[in-house]
Structures are given as structure tokens and as C-alpha cells.
């Protein structure tokens, strides 16, 4: 099964509300990253949190990481229509000095104006 699984698979909220997405993973990691993908496009990096960090902020984004539960959450505050996209978590693990990312299944977020 997937290293990263996201919950919920899809989420629809009213503009202005907060959106929370969760990611669970199975193995030890060096870092966890969140990416956004607009329909039919490539991914855009949002935020990276290291395994020794518990919380990180970037603008309207807040990411938490609980390595004991092997889970992370992404909170988008005061959502906007432009936040409509799919959001993926990706876990990073170094092997032989190099790092690969394993992507989760994604959460499809729809912001209703």
C-alpha cells in the first residue's frame, strides 16, 4: 500500500472557511513535504517540515508533523477560490546520501465561492 495516504480524498468548503487535510505514512522519514496541483498541471511545492520539527507556518498554511503517529496535517486558513486544487503530501527518505520522495494519494479541495 502507499507510503503516504491522505484523508479526506475530497473536501468541499465555503470560501473563507479553514481546510484541513491529513497525511499518514508507514516508514521513518527525513522530512515531509506538501505540494499543490492545479487541474492538469505540474505540482508546486508549498512547505517542507523536517522530522525533528513539529509545526511550521507559511502565510495561510500551517503544517504539523507527529512522527510518533506517522502523520501530518495541512491547514489552510481563510480559504479562497484560488485554493481549489489537489494537495499531495510527499515523504522524503535518504538512501545512500540521496533522497527520493514518495507521494500520497492526494486530497481534492474545492472552495465554493
Amino acid at each position: 500500500s502507499q507510503q503516504g495516504e491522505e484523508d479526506p480524498q475530497a473536501l468541499s468548503i465555503q470560501e473563507g472557511e479553514n481546510a484541513t487535510m491529513n497525511c499518514s505514512y508507514k516508514t521513518s522519514i527525513n522530512n515531509l513535504q506538501w505540494y499543490r496541483q492545479n487541474s492538469g498541471r505540474g505540482l508546486v511545492h508549498l512547505i517542507l517540515i523536517r522530522s525533528n520539527e513539529r509545526e511550521k507556518h507559511s502565510g495561510r498554511l500551517r503544517v504539523t508533523l507527529d512522527t510518533s503517529k506517522k502523520s501530518s496535517s495541512l491547514l489552510i486558513t481563510a480559504s479562497r477560490a484560488a485554493d481549489t486544487a489537489s494537495y499531495f503530501c510527499a515523504t522524503g527518505l535518504s538512501s545512500g546520501g540521496n533522497e527520493k520522495l514518495t507521494f500520497g494519494t492526494g486530497t481534492r479541495l474545492t472552495i465554493i465561492p
Partner: protein
């Protein structure tokens, strides 16, 4: 905006044709990746490269091949396209990090349809 380019953006081709998907980046990144993504699904790593003349297979088995003759260029080739190859192909790059954790920069993707 990340300077990583993919061409073509869309390709519709018949079964049995040979195709090459182009990926170029102007950021001087050593690491480059190819992912395959079906609509609404997760990304699967199919190839990666840590530098010139370095190529490795990813987690998902793929009939495609790649080459890395120049740092900035990482083309993907399918010798004989089949309908099962229909998917979106995403190219990405990142800097060599070792113990430094780096984000990946993605191209816009190539949506391939094999009839």
C-alpha cells in the same frame, strides 16, 4: 515560476509509434525525475537521475527509457507506444542535497494518449 519545461504538452498517437517526451531545466539542478500520474491519482516515480550519465529505474516499472547526456536535459522515450501507456508524465528536478532536504520543481506535464 520554476524554469522546467516539458514538450509536447499534449500528444495523441497511434499504437506502435516511437515517442520521446522532452524535459529541460535551466536551474542547473543535478537531480531529475520522471513521474507517471493517472487522472486523479498519486504520482509514481518511474525514472530518476542524479547527474550526467546517471539513470535509475523508479518504484513503478515502466517500459520507457531515459537518458541524461546533458545536465539540463532528461528525455523519456517509448519505443513502441501502447494504449496502456496513456497517462500524464511529469518531469521534476531538484538540487543535489545529500543530507539537505530540497523541494522538487515540476514541469507542466505531458498528457499522452495512445489510441
Amino acid at each position: 515560476e520554476a524554469d522546467i519545461y516539458q514538450t509536447p504538452r499534449y500528444l495523441v498517437i497511434g499504437t506502435g509509434k516511437k515517442i520521446t517526451l522532452e524535459c529541460s531545466q535551466t536551474m542547473g539542478h543535478d537531480k531529475m525525475y520522471w513521474y507517471q500520474q493517472d487522472p486523479g491519482m498519486e504520482l509514481h516515480l518511474i525514472h530518476y537521475s542524479y547527474g550526467v550519465n546517471s539513470t535509475e529505474k523508479g518504484d513503478l516499472s515502466s517500459e520507457s527509457t531515459v537518458s541524461r547526456i546533458r545536465t539540463e536535459h532528461f528525455p523519456l522515450t517509448l519505443e513502441s507506444a501502447r494504449p496502456s501507456h496513456t497517462s500524464q508524465y511529469l518531469c521534476a528536478s531538484s538540487t543535489l542535497g545529500g543530507r539537505t532536504y530540497n523541494e522538487q520543481f515540476f514541469g507542466p506535464g505531458t498528457r499522452l494518449t495512445v489510441l
